[in-house]
Symmetry: C2
Subunit: 117 residues, 2 copies
DNA sequence: GTAAACAGTTACAAAAAGGATACTGCTATG
DNA sequence: CATAGCAGTATCCTTTTTGTAACTGTTTAC
């Protein structure tokens, strides 16, 4: 963050806020990481695995899908099966998550590891 | 994000969540940016400038202070004046905010700029 | 044809976040 | 001594988020 005038600052704020909003909430990150590490899942599977009620899961998946971070594919087996997965686009979040992970780690040390200041 | 096993994934998730929690909420980012661009402020000044109720502002500032992102200094003028400012440590958030700003900007294009898919 | 699984939705309840307003204790100014 | 400003806190209220549980409609297996 450097040399930002009034306008640049406000628009930067909006962009940051957009990012914040798309990965925010109690579940979004967990859903993404779960799909990331274990691959595609069906609705019930996810629901049981991370212990989230269907109502909430449904909403979260819809939002993630709107943001193109998660794909929903219907296979016409009988009965139809529906699978959720992370999208290739989701990879673009990599730098953001990496930066957040690193800061979070060092911050934990900063806060907890230095009681004597 | 690559080659993360179960454990690494979980701890990365925690670190990301920590970061998320410290800058989350309706006001934290705005407060930081306001102090960043305009320098130190007093309680009432902030309250009026960004139009936040004292109750909420008080809580937010306390949380930011606990996370060492904002400093609170008491000058013993008469009457005492208290000034809030961002800390040098707050600069460490730079990479995170930059990454989020960039993703937010490109994401807006991705979502709004391509209606015909 | 009854039960059970799937992918959700609906209606309702609880909890968390945010907001409005009045108030405290202090000092200074008229 | 009344008024006003400062830095908050206390009380009450509204909105948003999250959770619980029951229910759709479809299909398959018994």
């Amino acid at each position: 963050m450097d040399h930002l005038d009034e306008k640049a600052c406000k628009s930067a704020g909006m962009a940051v806020r957009d990012t914040l909003d798309t990965i925010n909430g109690k579940w979004k990150l967990l859903i993404l990481l779960t799909l990331f590490k274990g691959g595609k899942r069906r609705f019930r599977e996810l629901s049981k695995e991370i212990n989230i009620s269907p109502r909430v899961l449904s909403r979260e998946l819809q939002e993630l899908e709107m943001n193109k971070l998660v794909s929903r594919t219907v296979s016409d087996t009988r009965p139809v099966t529906i699978e959720y997965n992370i999208t290739p686009y989701c990879q673009t979040l990599g730098p953001v998550l990496r930066a957040m992970k690193e800061w979070g780690e060092q911050h934990r040390v900063e806060i907890l590891g230095k009681k004597s200041v």
